[in-house]
Subunit: 460 residues, 2 copies
């Protein structure tokens, strides 16, 4: 028996992928007991976009959510998704902020830290991994999977070896764009298993309809843990269905040991919850294989489509889709995930809409060429780089090496407003949002965005 373990992601990625990260803590707590008892390897419940959505839309204190979940799920490993040196924000933070954030996350209940970098620049992961190990928690080093001439199996194996050397406890393969095929998954897991000793954890989005097949091939090749989402928040842009994975392996040598009947109770609960958030549903929640043809993730296509619609230029979509892989090549083939997906997408739209490639160049692309996001996976286009930043000095070191400690400065900026180090960290992540949030919280006037009922929607 080589039991396969399952991580359940309904509390984080499930609602992030399907209802714009809008699930409220009040809808998590009633089922937390059953989630806690189910026997998952971990429950991913924090980080990613949930912190942002709490502060921005739900007017919930994300740290309070974590504490409540911790209390409600005492027997489970709570997992969070952390963007390395970006933490949960959209810039690089100084190392003291990274350390403080990890410490407070651990203090308040996080057991497993899944840590990734959009560029796979491991220098951006090192400090957070060290911080996690220092507080005695589980560090999961993450490979952001993508395809390109440089992203072959030896490339990913080399990353995994370094993550192992960093002291990680497990290695995650993160396929946010749903690019993995069952065949590649099998080869990748097999190669990783041959090269490193750490257990492998697979995170494969279901968008292209390949994920459950990839899970099967990963299991065939010795994956230790697989991510799923309970059926009512699974498939489409989310993850493959937890119950189906459990059923597929039941009675085989890889049996997960989970009880499908208990999982169905959880699924039934969330099926009702999902209805409450209908206004955030996509029009089409089925399989979308476009990423396999034009390399552009489904979520990015939706965003671009909205952007173009606002400009009355939806008819330029095909040109933009063709331009994206070219911009990505100019930038040295970064994986397309926050923030690189936005950087590449916005520049591609500009290249199409202005009628001349790089006639106008965004600040983000300039910063990218200046090395502010880290090292590109392969050589960038020298001509375009020259056009963007001329001979300005490029950062060769780890970007955060240029940052002074900032916890003290951040604390002083919100003195009076912040009641705890957690508050300071919230401010560090989203300065403007957090100021308003903390003011309203202190004044007792926090109010979540309203949810539409079908009736109010029909009459408005």
């Amino acid at each position: 028996m080589t039991k396969v373990h399952v991580s359940e992601l309904v509390l984080r990625d499930g609602h992030q992928s399907l209802i714009a990260t809008r699930m409220r803590t009040e809808d998590m707590l009633p089922i937390a007991g059953k989630l806690d008892d189910a026997g998952f390897w971990s429950l991913e419940a924090w980080g990613g976009a949930t912190f942002d959505a709490c502060v921005r839309y739900l007017k919930e204190d994300p740290w309070e959510r974590l504490k409540k979940l911790r209390k409600a799920m005492p027997n489970s490993q709570i997992q969070m998704l952390l963007r390395g040196q970006n933490l949960l924000g959209y810039r690089h933070y100084s190392d003291d902020v990274v350390r403080a954030f990890v410490q407070k996350s651990a203090d308040n209940g996080v057991d497993v830290f899944r840590i990734f970098d959009a560029m796979n620049d491991l220098r951006n992961l090192k400090v957070s991994i060290e911080a996690v190990k220092k507080v005695g928690k589980h560090a999961e080093g993450t490979i952001s999977y993508t395809t390109s001439p440089v992203h072959d199996i030896p490339y990913f194996v080399a990353l995994a070896r370094e993550l192992e050397a960093f002291g990680c406890d497990t290695i995650a393969i993160k396929d946010m764009a749903s690019l993995l095929t069952p065949e590649i998954t099998g080869e990748l897991v097999k190669s990783l298993r041959a090269a490193i000793k750490l257990p492998i954890h697979l995170h494969a989005h279901a968008t292209s309809g390949l994920a459950s097949m990839s899970v099967l091939r990963a299991v065939d090749n010795g994956v230790a843990i697989v991510d799923g989402c309970i059926s009512s928040f699974a498939e489409g842009a989310s993850l493959p269905t937890t119950e189906s994975i459990v059923a597929a392996l039941k009675g085989t040598e890889y049996d997960t040991g989970l009880d499908i009947g208990k999982l169905q109770e959880i699924a039934a609960y969330f099926r009702e919850v999902r209805k409450k958030y209908w206004q955030f549903e996509s029009e089409f929640t089925g399989v979308d294989t476009r990423v396999l043809v034009n390399q552009v993730p489904g979520g990015m296509i939706s965003n671009l489509s909205n952007q173009l619609k606002e400009q009355g230029a939806l008819d330029r979509m095909d040109e933009v889709l063709a331009e994206i892989p070219r911009v990505r090549e100019d930038l040295g083939f970064p994986p397309l995930v926050t923030p690189t997906s936005q950087i590449v997408g916005t520049q591609a739209v500009l290249n199409v809409m202005t009628g001349a490639r790089y006639k106008s160049i965004t600040n983000e692309v300039k910063n990218y060429f200046l090395g502010q996001y880290g090292k590109a996976p392969s050589a960038v286009n020298a001509d375009i780089k020259n056009l963007a930043v001329g001979d300005a000095k490029v950062i060769e070191c780890r970007p955060a090496d240029l940052l002074d400690n900032e916890m003290e400065k951040l604390s002083s900026e919100v003195e009076g407003l912040a009641k705890s180090e957690e508050d300071v960290l919230t401010y560090a992540m989203f300065p403007d949002l957090a100021k308003t949030f903390l003011q309203e919280r202190n004044a007792g006037s926090l109010k979540a965005e309203p949810l539409l009922t079908k009736e109010t929607a029909a009459t408005s």
Copy 2:
């Protein structure tokens, strides 16, 4: 290279499973050229519930649909689903009707006949298979997959051997209830391949979220053809996604040879078509694994739920779900598919609602015990049978052996109304419906049920 072939089912099972079989011919013809060019092994486009829906709701002549599709897809094999001696109706027909139906289906465009019986009583398939071979077309003998103490792999292998001996060209495994797991699929395909020479064709519904994994294991074990549905009509109660199957096998030794880009054009077309039929959508179209726990197919649960709701007894659902496997056992474990799913479901509801099992017994259950549907897979409960039919004489022979030829009689019943043998066959399938249909057609007053627009629905 062991190329795997793909059958595309959007024109039949896709809309039957997801929008109550309501797709109109006018929405099929504009894309027929692209479907014809895609390179599918077959396009299932007729039979099943489509004939009924044409006559009942769409007021289309199903034979005209077939002719139009034949003309629009000259290079493809058109496939139909046929319920053996039941043809497309809900009773056993005499052999001359079966032969006439097969002849006319072939004349008008069907190339591949997929033939099944709800009981797996092969005597109910024999005449239609012979008729198909006689008109020189492809006969696909079908195993209706289910689970029970008698439905093990040797049982299915024995069925397949007999179907091979009948002269079938291929063998289909039909998993209408979504019960197949990847492991069982692998074993079943392997065992069939070892026992018979015919190519194996897999039809596995996606309801429980296992189908794409089962497809992968079937491919590993030498399946020749797999069924899929284009993404916009796939997954949930329908079949796994065609594009995903193609992508999963691309570049492997099993490469289907199909072009994903072309398939995406077809998917985009049907995504728009589906919107037109929004009123027939289920509330929840995701994965539903309940069948794996209580053995009751998802579609049956929905029907029962409606039945109980009408009686104000939705709170008895759990009792009904527990009763169904018991009734099924009393009946000798028939697979649950039309018409046995209705027979078992209705009796289970009665057993719960009357407060005493078999206090009231339906005529269908009585007929079942009398052998009118064929031979049960295993011994029926003798006490219940006695309660239902006493010592009435049970049919031991093939039920249709008791039927006299009836084409002449049927023809005379619709003399004047019917303009062709096809019309007589339409009348044979659905006598009352067809009379009205033919009258209106002859009078030029056929009118399809109206489709709701979102506007008219909101104001009504």
